[in-house]
């Protein structure tokens, strides 16, 4: 009997903006999709996020950012993961992100990006597919 294991997700809010409503909604939504969601709160530096992700051995990091600094912060997390030998961790992002930035971020290793209206089910399915892809199943 093989149990399907819960995917572990770390939700973090890098940057200086103080709105975490979206991050909280996502946290609850992913829990309802059967995931174990570690919520780490506001104003995280990429260093803190990556350190937490490593200790928690998560499959996915979900970054939420409304401050417009996503072009710097999201790739910084991806690069740090690489540097620490944890590039198996999938990074997805959320926020108000212009289309040209989406392409840029994807080219820098962010798996997927979601606007404020994205349905949770869609985000969850995307996470499940990405995790299955990375673990080679």
């Amino acid at each position: 009997m093989v149990k399907r294991e819960s995917i572990r997700v770390l939700i973090a809010k890098p940057g200086l903006d103080g709105h975490d409503r979206g991050a909280k909604v996502l946290t609850l939504g992913l829990r309802d999709e059967g995931m174990e969601v570690i919520y780490t709160g506001l104003r995280q530096t990429p260093d803190m996020i990556v350190q937490a992700a490593i200790q928690e051995d998560v499959d996915v990091i979900g970054l939420s950012c409304l401050s417009g600094a996503h072009n710097y912060l999201f790739p910084a997390v991806v690069d740090l993961l690489k540097a620490k030998g944890a590039k198996h961790i999938v990074v997805v992002g959320g926020g108000i992100i212009p289309q040209e930035d989406v392409l840029l971020l994807k080219s820098k290793g962010v798996e997927a990006l979601f606007g404020p209206g994205a349905p949770i089910r869609q985000i969850a399915d995307c996470i499940r597919a990405a995790v299955a892809g990375k673990s080679g199943v």
Binding site: R31, E36, V37, D57
Partner: protein, 320 residues
């Protein structure tokens, strides 16, 4: 095992991966634990339990700062409940511990309760062992506790701290919930709020009147974790309790009991696992299941049939 070697050498990533394997009950776990065991027994384990929102995580955060100032390294296991509906969980204790994220002397791991009925996942004790072998001096286990389910934490921890708040109701409620029985130290947190002094007095009276289980008299403390008030006193009481356990011989006695129950649990679980595997895949068992499902026979009589079938039992045992 390569992963165990790297973990023992002090690397965080292998430790994190080993914890995951233990949590997922991977087939390698018995071998992992066998190799880890000789390196355990040095850490001191503190359990922190109490109702949701009482300030446990905030308290753990402040205690961690205190231990770090003394030059001790800290491992934290923070448990939150698994949702019985989705199997998912929100693990939010880390929010209160951000100041320690970049301190290499602190390792924080969030765990969901998963299948366990109590506040402590059944794999948590093995995770404590991993952190112990990793070299943490102090291991703090935070669980949500509202009642007797918390006996688990008392078994795993050397000192159990029960955290209450003035709003949580009166001391009678606490006693009914069985929190009194598991506490080595009682803390009334959010003492900045009304009713704290009263609850402290009530609890103190309760402790004095209650049945004495040992020479340790449970201290009742008022704290304001969010404002860093009363933390030093709590640190002192934890130290008192540690010294008491050591000098009274209770610590060694507890460790003996812990080893014994660990052994029995392992044997029990492995027998159960293997046997269930055989039983589930046995044709005669499936035949009985069908009859029970259709209502042809009641489950008690069907079970009796199986248990009275000596030959069948012997066959299963032989295959184990």
């Amino acid at each position: 095992m390569e992963l165990v070697k790297k973990m023992l050498a002090g690397s965080q990533q292998p430790l994190a991966r080993l914890i995951t394997m233990v949590e997922r009950e991977a087939p390698e776990v018995p071998e992992i634990m066998r190799q880890v065991y000789p390196h355990t027994g040095k850490a001191y384990c503190i359990g922190v339990t109490g109702p949701p929102g009482a300030g446990k995580s905030t308290l753990v955060d402040k205690l961690t700062s205190g231990f770090r100032k003394k030059g001790l390294s800290v491992g934290i296991i923070a448990v939150d409940p698994t949702s019985p509906f989705s199997g998912g969980a929100v693990l939010g204790d880390r929010i209160r511990m951000q100041q320690h994220y970049l301190d290499s002397g602190v390792f924080i791991r969030s765990m969901a309760t998963r299948g366990s009925h109590g506040g402590l996942p059944k794999t948590a004790k093995a995770v404590v062992k991993l952190l112990d072998a990793f070299g943490k001096d102090i291991i703090i286990v935070e669980t949500v506790g509202v009642g007797q389910t918390e006996l688990d934490i008392m078994e795993a921890a050397d000192t159990t701290v029960v955290v209450l708040v003035p709003e949580a109701g009166d001391a009678i409620q606490t006693m009914k919930a069985g929190l009194m029985e598991i506490a080595h130290i009682m803390v009334v947190n959010k003492a900045d709020r009304e009713g704290a002094d009263y609850l402290v007095c009530e609890l103190e009276a309760m402790v004095r009147m209650g049945p004495k289980r040992s020479d340790w008299l449970i201290p009742v403390l008022a704290t304001q974790a969010a404002f860093d008030v009363g933390i030093d006193a709590l640190m002192q009481e934890i130290e008192h309790h540690r010294v008491y356990l050591k000098t009274s011989g209770e610590l060694e006695q507890r460790r003996c009991e812990q080893r014994k129950s660990e052994f029995i649990e392992i044997v029990e679980q492995r027998i159960k696992e293997r046997l269930l595997n055989l039983v589930e895949n046995d044709g005669r068992m499936s035949a009985s299941v069908l009859r029970v499902k259709s209502g042809d026979i009641d489950p008690y009589s069907a079970a009796q049939e199986i248990l009275e079938n000596r030959e069948l039992l012997r066959e299963w045992l032989g295959k184990m």
